[in-house]
Amino acid sequence: MQMNEPDALLRATRRIGPVILDLKNISLSFGGVKALTDISFDVRQHEIRAIIGPNGAGKSSMLNVINGVYRPQQGAIIHKGQQRKGMDCYGAAKSGIARTFQNIALFKGMTVLDNIMTGRNLKMKSNFLMQALYWGPARREEIAHRVKAEEIIDFLEIQAIRKTPVGRLPYGLQKRVELGRALAAEPEILLLDEPMAGMNVEEKQDMCRFILDVNDQFGTTIVLIEHDMGVVMDISDRVVVLDYGKKIGDGTPDEVRSNQDVINAYLGTH
């Protein structure tokens, strides 16, 4: 049951806002390895933007550039109209960018609930002494955030494991918790690095639903890396295609799907 085109367009245009993140001529290399060469693309508010490409194309590196883990040797990042200078990942987090990682980067020794609560840390105001006393405002704040965290737990349907240390969880659930942690920050831009790896179709369906819901309900802009073409083509508004660190395609899923370069480099023929 493919949604018919006009409908999708209509919805998309209603939703999508101005450019929120503009990446200009980004180049990044590690020693001799050129991870990204002169890449430009933009991300619009409220859109779901996918990045695809073969292994080692530079997708994860791109995300790392966006949220300040790597600093590109060249190029500019314009976030909400302002050029970003010398920003580290803390700064990126502060400006409302959250993300998940390809190799799960959960805090292994902590419970699911605590992991999700860490996502809210930038919103916590009470100081250290108050927290030590666990008194008055600090406690109220803690509980208020707990409520938020529980909302996310409900949303992701992981109630049963909220007190389990994440290290013990199976891979798929860990991915979900990681998404929860990113969501907990209530980010403006959410960067997802292969959120659906290691899931079966049913779980992917659920995951897609989460992503779409977040996008709908909170208006979060989403940048997504995924190798499952079904998912990418179905849920993203626009797709960037990278290969060997270069951009070889950019456009709506349909445009990308019919781009010959992309087919050669990545999609193959089926």
Binding site: Q2, V33, L173
Partner: protein, 275 residues
Amino acid sequence: MDTATAAAPPPYLSVNNIEVIYDHVILVLKGVSLQVPQGKIVALLGANGAGKSTTLKTISTLLRGERGDVTKGEVQFKGERVDQLTPNELVKRGLSQVMEGRHCFGHLTIEENLLTGAYTRNLGRAELKESLDKVYHYFPRLKERRASQAGYTSGGEQQMCAIGRALMAKPSMILLDEPSMGIAPQIVDEIFGIVKDLNHKENVSFLLAEQNTNVALRYADFGYILENGRVVMEGEATELANNEDVKEFYLGMSGAGRKSFRDMKFYRRRKRWLA
């Protein structure tokens, strides 16, 4: 659940009614039995947390390192009980595992990673080179990155490295835990192509835990479906692929064929065979 028919070849690997407990208290496998006949590809399917990885780790006896205990049952490989062996002895007997979550040696280069895979084989220089070339032939991307430390390669490259490393041991039976994870689609096909290839040409048997049910069932001969630490269904791969329930829950196809991910309106429409 006795499925062994008289016609079936004797199981190459057989897991008999194993029960596994983590940390002394967390019961994960509740009596899992399965067989892999020689020269066959068997798929192990199931949702997140069903116990696929645990089953594979039990077979390769890597469980001990994670504080898991096999409290019941036994594992036989080539007619020999192997649950008390060390992983090294198993590799020597021809059973290799590709672990979930890549597990490359971060400080070693890709090539060194691959070479460690041949540790048990005591190869001469030429043979080693030949084996390496074979892996590079399968994964040209690895050849490009051979001199980089594995810790600095991309997720997919690491996954290829992990698979290539297991191939270097020239096993007669491979346990593959989610080989397609994080791999670009055309490489996924390639990986399964390799599986098929090895299976055909070198009679290597496979047990693969895979989320990509679609592909897995396409290549496998036989499948088991695991849920909550129990085998809930098993059968010929084609049979499973045509089973309505499997279609709906694992292949994402309802009566009307494939549905767009965008159109899924509800969560958890999951039906369970067991509570």
